[in-house]
Symmetry: D2
Subunit: 139 residues, 4 copies
């Protein structure tokens, strides 16, 4: 299988369906069963001390898996997360974007399962990892 949506198509989809948050994310690359998403960290995502909040990291992992999934199945806005298990491993570097690398491990008819690694831009040690399951609406 090859992706049916590319970087430009996913970017347009985000802007149209999720205008409140679309500016936070950059679709860097899309490949078969995977996507790399940049999270433009801004002041509103920070906790005192300058670290990115846990919910912001969760949101990034969730969006990265969602976009990797839509790349394969097309613009189905109603795919929903049913489960996420996330490990927070390191404090993100201050003043630095986050990068999420999502891969799809199973793309079934009703469920898709994948995982995501989150890094501070330019660092090799992951900030977080997450396993996610999405429910795919009937077509």
């Amino acid at each position: 299988m090859v992706p049916v949506m590319d970087e430009a198509a996913l970017t347009a989809f985000l802007a149209r369906e999720f205008p409140q948050v679309a500016d936070d994310f950059v679709v860097e690359t899309v490949a078969a069963h995977g996507a790399r998403i940049r999270f433009r960290v801004a002041d509103r995502h920070l906790r005192p001390g300058g670290t990115v909040s846990g919910p912001s990291i969760f949101a990034l992992a969730d969006v990265a898996m969602y976009l990797a999934l839509l790349a394969m199945i097309g613009p189905q806005a109603l795919a929903v997360t049913t489960n996420c298990a996330i490990d927070f491993m390191r404090k993100p570097a201050a003043g630095c974007d986050l990068i999420a690398e999502a891969r799809i491990l199973k793309l079934g008819r009703v469920l898709a399962v994948g995982d995501v690694l989150v890094f501070s831009d330019g660092s090799a040690a992951p900030v977080a990892r997450a396993g996610l399951t999405y429910s795919i609406p009937p077509r």
Copy 2:
């Protein structure tokens, strides 16, 4: 063990340490090893269609466990989530606050483990459940 912080103390702590989000949450009740937190749902938490976003529900579960923990150990802002496994089970009711009920199942020296049920206010069927682990900084 009994709580060392009550509703007023936790509310003051939130306002002081997390001013960006403190208004979103109401500390309704605190008990030994548990807390009930209200999430005042506003437009900025919604997805198209009027449903509360996944990251907002995650944030609520995370805060509820955090406050239940601080109630027992005191105002240690540096306690951090190390792990969260969350199941999204139902769409939240539209135009409705969310209620989180957190309980602490283990309060160790370095780790605390608990779980959280999230409901639409007035509904008995849970929207989400989460298991969370917090790392407690050395005293």
Copy 3:
């Protein structure tokens, strides 16, 4: 909804479908959306030091949720676990059965979600907790 299988029916089902492990488990009580299962701890479940192994505790949580589910939907052997997030919190007491209390939080058409607390028999402090999702085969 009320259970469609009682303790005796679940016990007979286990013996018929899972003869290798049926003797390990006792169906103590079944209720709407919940079950209490005893795990008869034997030498083969122990690790050096006399503690019950993690995979045995996982197996108990998995079986308890499975039986709570079958009690509601009938003897569908092909329901399968799709996800489990388990926290191991305390060492089980030595020379002691384990008790699992499972509850179903969502019983959908294709997915069921629930959680399980595991205790050493007679103790109030949980050994483990797990959240599980089962996939229900089409009828």
Copy 4:
């Protein structure tokens, strides 16, 4: 960091500390922050229909992460799993060993976090994936 235990040392450790299950596992390769473990599937691991049981797959993931960890920190039998989130994605192939590939994503002073992919031997599509946290005893 380089491993302080190699394949032979881990194999000897397993045989000495976990004699009940050591024959089930083969330590195929060990590298910095990773290990590849074979699970010799036998009749006692099967469910009716010939598929490997969930608890057996959990046990494999748990052992693989444990051995990858011990390779880095030495033979500390008392490292214990505190958390595991596992997704079961596909039925294992019948009559086939399972292969687990574990990698350590964080090796801290008190906690280690990693993930594991499980495959049927010779297949590229994963049967399961797991994220695990181990607690490391004080030295």
